[in-house]
Amino acid sequence: MIRFVKGNEAVVIGALYAGCDAFFGYPITPASEISHAASEWFPAVGRVFLQAESETAAINMVYGAAAAGKKAMTASSSPGVSLMQEALSYMAGAELPGVVVNIQRAGPGLGNIFPEQADYNQSVKGGGHGNYHCFVLAPGNVQEMCDLTALAFELAFQYRNPAILLSDAVLGQMMETLHLPTSSPTPPDVRSWAVQGTPGTRSNLITSIYLNAPTLEERNRTLQKKYAEAQKEARAETDRTDDAEVILAAYGISSRIARSAVDRLRQHGVRAGLFRPLTLFPFPQKALLHATSQRPLAVIELSNGQFYEDLRLQIGPNAGPVTLINRMGGMLFSVEEVVERVLSFLKKRAGNAK
């Protein structure tokens, strides 16, 4: 089945086919279509939809549903996701699975409703208090808004950890062709840990409090081990990197503009390639090192270098030249702008080499 839908609607379809039992949301532009579609489609197929009184309540409802072993999600945009950070820390601490969709808008503060990617650090580094990470998935088209929402549920339940779909206002608002999933996964067996009001789960306990410091340290070490194991889930896509003389690195909407820029640069005779991470946590470090291998790297992002700094960290001391090409505040770069800035980066490099 093919449908022409908004990215925001594709998220809901992905969630439903992933077996999501409940959607708890609070509306905010530019994520509201997710709530709109969920309010129509979830009840229509016998699932739970509830508009919460706040983002704080919505994510704590997700916490409650997850404690019961159910698949639940919420969706919001940057300011709303900021409000959810406390509960995400609790979920990571209590090892609860759940999915949060962030259709990023521009900040800081109330900002505006146009696209930005400035919640990178908040999403990738933990966001709330304590030593934890969420899985962070970065879709680049409407199909992936659906498919990576489903993957978010899969990873969340496999590792009992919250997962974030880190998207942006363009991907949420744009329409594109979606191939609907055809089947749903078997529901996971959660009886060993979930609290379901049944004899078998009566002695289960969901909590994140450990007053005994050695116990809590041990717990933290277990979490870190889990994140290290999850490294194998890292995913990335590369496009024309093999013969490339310059690599453009971008995710989300920036990666679409970067792909057009790669096309245009090749027309100009510059062999450009694209590195696009699909998971931002865990970060696809191997794929990055393989794609770049000390070649010039242009990092394209709608934020103040958060992604750029992380890429430099991932590449380590053997990096080739790296440059940041960014916009902020809800401004998008045109393809021409990216092409010009990549060309001037390469020119400067050539100048330096002389």
Partner: protein
């Protein structure tokens, strides 16, 4: 020491490495009494297996050391949101929230109020001891005027700190709660009354009748700087004056269990599994054509773009649609970008359109100069545009609003524009494709299909007599 036998607790409490039968509560604290009353009631009703207790932040954060039922710890103030999800997803479960005054009445009061207003199917046991316990005896929303706490060292002042919240009375303003009662744990007769209230609240859950709320005025000798006797005296002589005991509401005889959910279609039944258009052969060699549609809000600009994109999809192309969106709910300017291409599409945002469709003068002024060389501007003649088109750009004027008005549907001016795009063979797309896309856009309002088809065909006729033939005919 002789111990009273209790039921419903774990046989011993695993709270400090060594199993013990001591709780962590201070001597004279009300929590122990209340824990005992609740667990006894669970056992008497035979519902331990079905019960989930949402534990709060505060002294009772460790309730799960004691009560032998399903246990979930919630973040500060969020027990009612957690319980909401539990009761919605586990209709067979008996869900209880056990919360103190800071948790329920301060940081979490909105969650309390909203869950009560929704009439969520769980019971709330609210422990009011007019202070924050575990955190160190600070002011609570229920602290009395003049009461000394560690953050009101000179007594709570109305001027600085406001007045105590009467939670039961506030909830009693709401429509949905079924049962609201305030009890006290200060002496044996009162404890027996509290016991009956707990049973009632649980029975309402067993019968699935709705939101039950019981408040307990509970002694806290430690933070009230007194002993067990003095604490009970304080409740009897002072606290009960501010918070009168009694049942504020009992609508249990009018309350009903949730109806059984109706049977629902499967996802594949609901969304469908295939359509004829799923099997269109793709056309990877088609060139990329970038459109911008612009006009007033209400002119159907966004849907015009969607129909054009759908026509592209039906021809086997990749398509994207992206709206310019703003804070206005109605009116204002409306615009959207559409890209139709044989290859995968990069940016869906169109800065330099090959085709610009303008439904008003404002859009023309705003976007005409951005049209790519060799491009086309299609204009409605609603507002006269008497400036020459930009260099290397062709302009075609169509009286879209006028033609639609003659057909009795001014709002269908966008359908006239679609016909003009079809006549001009933009992106090499056929009239039949545009018409199919137009009709499928009215899937939900089939009554409008004949009218729009007529307008589309009338507009094509107009184009035939008034416009030059297409720039190039498709291969």
């Amino acid at each position: 020491m002789k111990r009273l036998k209790t039921v419903g607790f774990y046989p011993s409490f695993d709270r400090s490495g060594e199993p013990t039968l001591d709780t962590h509560y201070c001597p004279g604290c009300g929590h122990g009494i209340l824990h005992k009353l609740i667990t006894e009631a669970l056992v008497e009703r035979g519902i331990q297996d079905r019960t989930i207790i949402v534990n709060p932040i505060g002294c009772a954060v460790f309730g799960y050391y004691y009560w032998d039922a399903g246990n979930i710890g919630a973040a500060h103030g969020r027990a009612q949101a957690v319980a909401t999800a539990l009761t919605r997803l586990l209709p067979h479960a008996i869900v209880l929230c056990y919360q103190g005054d800071g948790d329920l009445g301060a940081i979490g009061f909105n969650c309390t109020l909203q869950a009560a207003a929704r009439g969520e199917r769980f019971a709330t046991f609210f422990v009011n001891n007019a202070s924050y316990g575990m955190t160190g005896g600070q002011m609570a929303p229920t602290t009395l005027l003049g009461q000394v706490t560690s953050t009101t060292p000179h007594g709570r002042s109305a001027e600085n700190d406001g007045y105590p919240l009467h939670i039961c009375e506030i909830l009693n303003q709401l429509q949905a709660p079924v049962y609201i009662e305030r009890c006290s744990l200060a002496d044996t007769p009162r404890i027996m009354k509290a016991r009956r209230a707990i049973h009632k609240a649980l029975d309402l859950q067993i019968e699935d009748k709705g939101y039950a709320f019981v408040e307990f005025l509970s002694p806290c000798p430690t933070n009230w700087a007194t002993d067990a006797v003095g604490a009970n005296q304080f409740i009897l002589e002072t606290l009960e004056k501010e918070f009168p005991l009694g049942c504020l509401r009992d609508r249990s005889s009018d309350a009903h269990p949730r109806p059984l959910p109706p049977s629902r279609p499967s996802l594949n039944e609901y969304f469908g599994t295939s359509e004829a258009s799923d099997n269109i052969l793709s056309d990877p060699n088609a060139p990329e054509v970038r459109f911008k549609f612009a006009g007033f809000g209400g002119q159907g600009i966004l849907s015009l773009g969607m129909v054009a994109a759908e026509a592209g999809r039906l021809a086997g192309r990749n398509t994207t649609w992206f709206p310019f969106y703003g804070p206005e709910q109605r009116g204002g300017a409306a615009a959207c970008s559409v890209v139709i291409s044989g290859r995968p599409i990069g940016s869906p945002v169109v800065d330099h359109p090959d085709i610009l469709v303008c439904m008003n003068r404002y859009s023309y002024d705003r976007f005409a100069d951005s049209v790519a060389p060799g491009g086309l501007i299609l204009c409605d003649t609603l507002e006269t545009i008497n400036v020459p088109p930009p260099h290397q750009v062709r302009r075609v004027d169509v009286p879209a609003t006028e033609l639609a008005g003659q057909s009795g549907a001014v709002k269908a001016a966008n359908t006239v524009m679609l016909a003009a795009l079809a006549w001009l063979r933009v992106a090499g797309l056929s009239s039949a494709g545009f018409l199919t896309a137009l009709e499928s856009s009215f899937k939900r309002k089939p009554a409008l299909i004949p009218l729009n088809r007529r307008i589309f065909e009338t507009a094509l006729e107009w184009c035939k007599t008034h416009l030059a033939p297409p720039i190039s005919s498709p291969a």
